[in-house]
Symmetry: C2
Subunit: 364 residues, 2 copies
């Protein structure tokens, strides 16, 4: 391997096929947008956004205005870019200059944007976000009531979509999904002329009742399982291979890594790889995660270090040990981002947004 760092391959063709699959699932009456916040969940806006656009996506959701400005530079004029974290008066001229559409999350947000729109003498576009369970962003029930009782608060705003956000769509058994859908339908009745959007990735695969006019999948585009405990219908997008730096023997009774948290029960061999928590491999994978070498699992021994991990060759035949410079798999056919998330006690979203900056990144 000609680099001392890991190689992260991002298959944009697979992202396009994942987009196409979701687009088929929701059918022709529903638009398929994309959640591309946090640098496309860490995969890289410059590589991912053009692929989605090329596949027909025109509706892109980012978190901050800074992300929106960057997306506009990449995508050009043909895309709709929505700022989930709302309108920001200090940067209001950038909303105009970059044609960014805010998602309005509160009465205050609406008041500021309505005033700004009037100042500019036109109906500026916006999405309205109603909270139906999260208590995160979005109009809480009380504010929603005030707005629905006085829609003149929106008199200078072109409401393109009314939206809400699922709290538990990764969990098919959660009663909250149907409850949120019901609340959302109640809200939509106040906006008969508008279009509606409720679904993230999980919602897309839960029920066509939830699809409405626009879906906003994220993790599924990037290959993560949309619903926990069900077969993942999405295609693998990421492959991460890392070089072996050293292979050496250890004796029974010796320990591995910082603070000696692992003791070898028998004589063994280990491979030390160029990968660590600075690359986004969580320390919670200490004594818990694994790499794969020729399809054989090499469990982590001891703590994950900043730049290094010690892997046990206990299950690798001795005549097949890796050598200096060989590459082992961290993400790929043998270990998915959901597998890693399970071992680390988190979700695939955090696994991929944490992917570090040292990897050689290749887009194919």
């Amino acid at each position: 391997m000609s680099s001392m760092s890991g190689r992260l391959r991002i298959d944009t063709q697979a992202i396009k096929r994942n987009y196409a699959l979701i687009d088929r699932v929701v059918g022709q009456s529903c638009v398929t947008g994309a959640s591309v916040k946090a640098d496309c969940y860490g995969l890289g806006a410059e590589g991912v956004l053009p692929a989605l656009f090329d596949q027909g996506c025109r509706d892109f959701f980012v978190a901050t205005i800074e992300e929106g400005m960057r997306a506009r530079k990449i995508l050009g004029d043909g895309a709709n870019i929505y700022i989930l974290n709302g309108f920001w008066p200090d940067l209001q001229q950038d909303f105009l200059a970059y044609q960014l559409t805010p998602v309005l999350n509160a009465l205050d947000d609406i008041e500021r944007y309505n005033a700004f729109s009037k100042e500019n003498g036109r109906d500026l576009p916006a999405l309205l976000h109603f909270d139906t369970a999260m208590n995160r962003l979005g109009l809480p029930q009380g504010e929603a009531q005030i707005l629905c009782d006085d829609l003149s608060r929106l008199d200078a705003i072109n409401v393109q979509y009314v939206m809400s956000h699922f709290s538990s769509s990764d969990d098919r058994s959660a009663a909250q999904n149907a409850q949120q859908n019901e609340r959302f339908r109640g809200i939509t009745k106040h906006f008969p002329q508008a279009k509606y959007s409720l679904c993230n990735s999980g919602g897309v695969f839960q029920s066509s009742d939830y699809h409405f006019d626009l879906v906003r999948p994220g993790i599924a585009l990037y290959g993560g399982a949309p619903i926990t405990g069900e077969e993942n219908p999405m295609e693998l997008v990421l492959r991460l291979d890392v070089p072996v730096l050293q292979v050496h023997s250890v004796k029974a009774g010796e320990t591995a890594g910082y603070n000696a948290t692992y003791k070898f029960e028998r004589d063994s061999y280990v491979a030390v790889v160029s990968l660590g928590y600075a690359d986004g491999v969580f320390r919670s994978l200490s004594n818990n995660g694994a790499l794969y070498w020729n399809g054989v699992r090499m469990p982590f021994r001891g703590r994950v270090s900043m730049d290094l991990i010690i892997c046990d060759l206990c299950d690798v035949p001795q005549n097949q040990y890796p050598a200096h410079g060989d590459v082992a798999e961290f993400i790929g056919n043998h270990q998915t981002i959901d597998d890693i998330a399970r071992d680390a006690g988190t979700i695939s979203y955090e696994v991929i947004t944490a992917l570090g900056r040292r990897y050689i990144r290749e887009y194919a």
Copy 2:
């Protein structure tokens, strides 16, 4: 606040004072180097390296050759740059071109580098790394014995330092520290002409017995506590402030965030901030971490989301609630990187290497 993203301030003057403190602790007979791998533990090589150089540091340790090449571009010719992850034959010409000194971790490493040095007709410089407890990188005991019995294996190498690395120097009670020191002293006897290096940050503050000729602190430079459970002698380097996006009421019995993992016991108000696990705030801080507003703790409620966190205003007087655009402290005087690490069940090193790319970064 004129940005929708958090503002991360990196006080390079404090880094310089931390360097100066360590330099005083080890005294004039010992050189103070710096561990600057992983982009200076996530703080940014372009901002941090010149400050350390300006304070007199000339010995810089990075993990990979890619990091070394970048450091050389920033530092110019006057610095010694050591590649901890060893020699890499595929990139051997870059070691010459960028004047990078490998840390040789195995007999194989030594053999390859010795041959390369001979090809180039000169004594190329290197450090020798002996493992004394970690079973990570470094010559294991068996390989060390072979080398010490036949030092002609090094006949074309200019050994600048013989080194090892502490496993448990953050723990003053660990017997391993004195054991490693003893083993290391045994090895040094085979290299009477060389200079020696053993200490990371913890070692510096453990004992002057461990200082030898060169110390290589990392976390202490960046403000982290070198020894767990003792008063931190280092100065605060990082401040991270994040904007409030929305303040709203919640009712007793309602839940917060994904999968409804928190239920409010009484009517309350929450502040939703522009910060999430995509910014390096671990999901393990769900229902566990906090922000500070005017010095008052605002505990996280529910799960940390990718871009958002819900904070409870339970302890903030109602007439002092933050407003849209106000900024709250995540890292600063009220909450150190060690505090966050404790709450997240990890170490300060992981907290800072995980700091995300969305922040507006300011170096002062």
